[in-house]
């Protein structure tokens, strides 16, 4: 049992080393995020009203867009270098790899965002009461996005060139999630029960993810 935990821990350590020494990517994502916010502020002008009304929606959209930025790297590197097979032969089933990768994507790509949200909220005048609920719905929503991203980027291994197709599929699937999550924050009542619904969606997708991803990885390795 302890051995097993150690294994998992070092999987995350590995992802950390790989992703963070690609610190550049994280930086790119966050810079993209902030530049886009600046764009909005500058083009709308300092009319605080529109900004603070629209702020939540803008943040959500930017979250979605910037998580698609990191999708290309999700499985591709490990697939090309043959590390996927080696991990598989060493007791990580494809499904398990999918779960671990999703979680580490969440940790290394989405969490930096979530951390930078309070700053972003200050920039676009979102009232502080909302920040709390924003953070919760963001945490859940971004995990959903990680799962969807895992599925679609494993699909992308099956097609050799079209790197945007995966993102297109993710985005169309995440439309309901977006509508719902933006809706949540703007309704005053029933916040808890709505969050529960979002959490339910998360659970469903989190359950589907390993199977879908695992199947895609397996077939991708066969074709290679």
């Amino acid at each position: 049992m302890f051995i097993f935990l150690k294994k998992i821990f070092y999987f995350f350590y590995r992802e950390f080393k790989v992703n963070i020494s690609g610190f550049h990517d994280i930086l790119t994502n966050i810079t993209f995020f902030f530049i886009s916010i600046f764009i909005f502020i500058f083009s709308i002008g300092p009319q605080d009203k529109i900004l603070s009304v629209m702020g939540v929606s803008i943040l959500w959209t930017l979250l979605l867009l910037s998580s698609t930025l990191s999708l290309t790297k999700f499985y591709r590197d490990d697939f090309d270098t043959g590390n996927l097979i080696i991990l598989h032969l060493n007791g990580f089933s494809f499904e398990f790899i999918a779960i671990l990768k999703t979680i580490s994507h969440f940790i290394y790509v989405q969490v930096p965002f979530i951390i930078s949200i309070p700053i972003a909220c200050v920039l676009i005048n979102i009232p502080m009461e909302k920040v709390y609920s924003l953070l919760i719905s963001f945490a859940i929503g971004s995990f959903i996005l990680s799962c969807l991203g895992s599925i679609s980027s494993s699909m992308n291994l099956l097609n050799k060139r079209n790197y945007l197709l995966g993102s297109v599929i993710v985005m169309i699937l995440s439309i309901p999630v977006i509508i719902f999550s933006v809706g949540i924050i703007n309704t005053e009542e029933n916040f808890i029960s709505l969050i529960n619904v979002l959490f339910g969606i998360l659970l469903i997708i989190f359950a589907i993810n390993p199977w879908a991803t695992g199947a895609c990885l397996k077939i991708a390795l066969q074709n290679n």
Binding site: I3, K7, Y10, K17, V18, T81, G82, I86, N90, Q222
Partner: protein
Amino acid sequence: MLLTKNISLFRADKIIFENINLSIGSGKILGLKGKNGSGKTSLIKTILCILEPTSGSIFWKGKNIEKNLYDFYNNVTYIADKTSSLKQLTINENIKIWKNIFLSKINNDQIEKILQTLKLDSYKNKKTNILSLGETKKLELLRLIIENKKIWILDEPFTNLDSEAIDVIKQTFEDHCKKEGSIIFSSHQNVQINTTEDLLL
């Protein structure tokens, strides 16, 4: 222990190999020889259950391999024909990750000694992307020792290596055989390895 019965593989409707019967017991070295494109890599991947054979079946310890795949995987180390060390990390970091992910019990002194015989010790703290091709391959072969499994399956283990390194590998192979391990490797070169059996594809 490992047995293939009449396996054949078709890829994109081309016959890659047909009716291959292999058996590997402990203490044996099996060499897969063949020209370029004769299907050595494909056969190895089929044995590892990464590719599904079009017909025929593979047995592990008497049972169909699909039924106890993870037991099989627990006993096998695969060195592919490409290198898997992470280019962003140093040799030491790579070894550390391997050791922990493969739950290896090997201690640091041993690794130190092997690095010395392979002449890699002066690069320990260098990123692996500066290594020469041969050095990268040697690092990859280190996985054999770190994983410390019974069956070694190697795809072209001698490419890019100089004769000294090949001698070290030969020695390692022989030691492994003495310890009741078994080895499958593919090669198109005529390396003087004392195989107990050869298969010409």
